[in-house]
Symmetry: C2
DNA sequence: GAGTGGTCTAGACCACACT
DNA sequence: GTGTGGTCTAGACCACTCC
């Protein structure tokens, strides 16, 4: 089991050998050399390099070569939980459960979860912290039928881990919307910022590989501590 | 000339024939059928479908088939100019030049353009409109040596078109940072919003294919009219 | 079991960069 | 010209889904 595809293995090894801890603009071995080194065809090497390219780790220039991008601050966007996100930023995540209830879905949540208004949902409101400092308030809503017994579990860790391990719900992609807002009095108190501070509001609908909505989350980030970084490309 | 790769052509045709104006979850022909239909090998079809998949137009499920995603609101992020962005949102872009000057670079701009502080830059401040309504204030800075004579041109259109056509400067990727803020008095007047309204601040460093910085831009968006939408994926 | 997408091989030729 | 990445062919087998 867990047989790893060659292109995945090659991607990891190339990363270890030629990318990690290297300065930017360093040339990698040519595709033909890598193919020989790993005993595969060039197509397989290209598959691996293609992945590294879309991940923003290398840049390929026709006629010239493949080059490291250096420790770019901004990776391309991935679907991550708060815990993973914060760890990637080099901080320690933790969490306080502010509320956990089963309630009927309102119109907005029902639309995003593709259920009927009034159907039962489980809603978790958590204060997420990074290095023990408040970072954001997260309101997560899930179909109650998808997650029986969720409210009895420890909800201060990674929600995605829980969904995968206990309910076999694996998020595959998510649609996100980012807007700017200011905090209310209540939100300010919880986040420990002055009232009406600027904040980023991110709403996310997480879907499984069949495009079925698993989770609808609204997150309110302190804008003095959190920013969204990403790389955009012209073609790719 | 302008010879088009087969996989590009196939991607376009497949889109026209099987994706555009179709509901979500419609099955496409199998890869083998498409290969036959277009007279190419399966590898070429897969190349085309892979592109459509990362563009968020189709979803591929092993053992099952390839399916339309339907008219997803949020495409994955692309590097676009304001004009392109607004047109994609179905509105008509226009622009007012508020200021255009050649000045010495301050520390922040110099760092982002990878030049020394004090070196000459050209700076354009533009009010960007969508359907004749103010949408954002854009402050673009470029190395003065890269764009001789830029200040004498018509600067109300697409800056990227101008850079490409007149100076052969082609942005390839950009690093973007999104934060939340509130508008100042001056900004509020120009954007025609109440003072201290929430706003999205997007800073962008555009780079060419060799990772040389071409442009550093700070854009302040009205948050009542503008939101950032995108899709994130777990793997890909 | 039949059919789908996923991986991989072993070649070939093309487009482009560098010298 | 030489060497690079980009495209493409013609096959094969594997992993998975669905009936």
């Amino acid at each position: 089991m867990a047989a790893q595809a060659k292109h995945e293995y090659i991607g990891q090894r190339v990363r270890e050998l030629y990318i990690d801890n290297k300065p930017a603009r360093e040339a990698l071995p040519t595709e033909r050399k890598l193919a020989e080194e790993f005993g595969v065809t060039r197509a397989t090497v290209r598959h691996a390099l293609g992945r590294l390219e879309t991940d923003g780790l290398v840049s390929r220039i026709q006629g010239s070569g493949t080059f490291t991008m250096g420790p770019t601050i901004a990776k391309s966007l991935k679907l991550t939980s708060f815990s993973e996100d914060i760890r990637l930023r080099g901080m320690i995540p933790s969490s306080t459960l502010l509320r956990s209830v089963e309630i009927p879905a309102d119109v907005n949540i029902a639309r995003n979860l593709q259920i009927s208004p009034g159907e039962p949902i489980v809603q978790l409101v958590r204060l997420q912290l990074a290095n023990a400092e408040p970072m954001c308030i997260e309101v997560a809503s899930l179909r109650a039928h998808d997650v029986p017994g969720l409210l009895d579990l420890d909800l201060t860790g990674s929600l995605y881990d829980l969904l995968g391990e206990r309910y076999s719900l694996i998020p595959f992609r998510a649609e996100q919307v980012v807007t700017a807002t200011v905090t209310t009095q209540d939100e300010s108190t919880v986040l420990r910022v002055p009232p009406f501070s600027p904040a980023l509001r991110v709403t996310r609908t997480a879907l499984d590989s069949r495009s079925r909505p698993l989770e609808f989350t609204t997150t309110l980030y302190r804008s003095d501590r959190y920013e969204i970084r990403f790389t955009v490309r012209r073609d790719s």
